[in-house]
């Protein structure tokens, strides 16, 4: 268990370095300003992964991570202000760039399968993605308007 936690922590630091540097280059946020926020987000991630491992209920780590982050920053939380302030120095999009870089490298393995598909399959698949997107957007728009939110 301790080994696993150590491994996660090291890997989180490695990803964190890429994200922090990207955050500086892409969004001009000084590295020193971003470090507290990165550490907080890393700690939330680690806590979520540990909880998923320790609690016997089958509940994925990402659910715990999202929940911890949320509970720490809801208006009722006494630590909401500083956590929101620190983590706002880390741009969501800057953190996503290394994730998709890893993903790009990993999907290479699916490339052979991909090239075997005909153009018709590809077209249908893209329309499927588009269909769920536009369908949800239209329903959301209608309901939000009925509620008078937008």
């Amino acid at each position: 268990m301790l080994n696993k936690v150590q491994e996660w922590a090291i890997l989180l630091v490695i990803v964190g370095i890429s994200a922090t540097v990207g955050n500086f280059i892409g969004y001009k946020i000084p590295i020193a300003d971003a470090i507290p926020g990165m550490l907080i987000l890393g700690a939330i991630s680690l806590a979520g992964m540990i909880l998923a491992k320790v609690i016997p209920v089958k509940f994925p780590a990402v659910a715990y991570i999202g929940l911890i982050g949320m509970l720490l920053t809801i208006p009722e939380s006494p630590v909401a202000k500083p956590i929101v302030a620190y983590t706002s120095k880390v741009q969501f999009m800057a953190m996503a760039t290394p994730v998709l870089a890893y993903a790009g490298i990993a999907i290479g393995k699916s490339w052979t399968d991909f090239t075997r598909l005909g153009w018709k399959s590809v077209l249908v698949a893209l329309v499927v993605l588009f269909g769920t997107y536009i369908g949800s957007a239209i329903v959301a728009e209608i309901v939000l308007r009925m509620q008078g939110i937008i």
């Binding site: 990803v15 992964m49 949320m70 969501f92 993903a103 005909g118 957007a137 959301a140």
Partner: protein, 270 residues
């Protein structure tokens, strides 16, 4: 290093990702006018495509691709943590929008309404059901394989959509979401909710694209997108079991005879 316990510490992989991050963030965001709309290009899209190019160009080996897979899960943890701390402050707004958030899950059935007729028009048979009953992520693949078997037409169909989604889903969603929001004036929050289709990378790319188009709402966009994606992840499978798959089968039995009349069975392979 070298011993088995540390094989996850692949410095070549992490070095490449670091360089990709630096290079792509340096290139930055670009907006390209296209017809009536705008295509937004941004670093994470270049990073994903360059990562794939490096793999196909043999600059990274299978070893790195293997090591990259668990890294996605880990790196996504950070993103989820960030989404969590964005959701917290927006919680009152999200609760207020709860009905829209829940009901838009049914919009996911748009896959069937748009996709199934197209698949049939292109000559697909039962593959069309696997392809269009849902957005074809892991839980849906599981459902179809469970119901029809891996080597069934339905199984081949869902795998085709799964593979396309895996390889091009994030890039497609990123480009499409930004473009669509510049030509079709729905509210950014409606679009934000729609990005939660049950894939972390697709939601990330699509919501980032929206955030570039509507920077004044970027925190709300990510919070709503994240909340919606969480909801889809939790409900997506049941949506497929109880509504998506039965509806796809029903629509298939209604539409298939009409399409078959006009054309011979053309397609055998998915």
């Amino acid at each position: 290093m070298g011993q088995k316990g540390l094989s996850w510490l692949d410095w070549r992989l992490h070095g490449i990702v670091f360089i990709l991050t630096v290079v792509t963030e340096r290139i930055g965001t670009h907006r390209i006018p296209l017809g009536p709309g705008v295509i937004v290009l941004f670093p994470m899209l270049y990073a994903m495509i360059l990562g794939l190019v490096l793999y196909l160009g043999k600059f990274v080996k299978k070893e790195q691709a293997d090591a990259a897979e668990p890294m996605i899960v880990l790196a996504i943890a950070y993103l989820i943590a960030k989404i969590g701390v964005l959701i917290g402050p927006s919680m009152p707004k999200i609760i207020a929008a709860g009905p829209a958030l829940i009901l838009q899950e049914f919009g996911n059935l748009g896959t069937i309404l748009l996709g199934l007729p197209l698949a049939l028009a292109l000559g697909f048979g039962r593959e069309a059901i696997g392809m269009t009953h849902s957005v074809g992520r892991e839980p849906n693949v599981g459902l179809i394989v469970d119901t029809y078997g891996f080597n069934s037409p339905e199984g081949r169909g869902v795998m085709a959509v799964y593979i396309v989604g895996t390889v091009f889903g994030a890039v497609f969603m990123g480009l499409m979401a930004g473009f669509l929001s510049t030509i079709l004036p729905l509210h950014p929050l409606s679009y934000a909710m729609a990005t939660g289709i049950g894939s972390g990378s697709m939601m990330t790319a699509a919501s980032s694209s929206l955030a570039h188009v509507f920077p004044e709402l970027k925190d709300d966009i990510v919070a709503f997108a994240g909340a919606s994606n969480l909801l889809t992840t939790a409900t997506g499978l049941y949506m497929s079991i109880f509504i998506g798959l039965p509806l796809a089968n029903k629509l298939y039995s209604v539409l298939k005879p009409r399409f078959s009349k006009n054309q011979k069975e053309v397609v055998k392979n998915a």
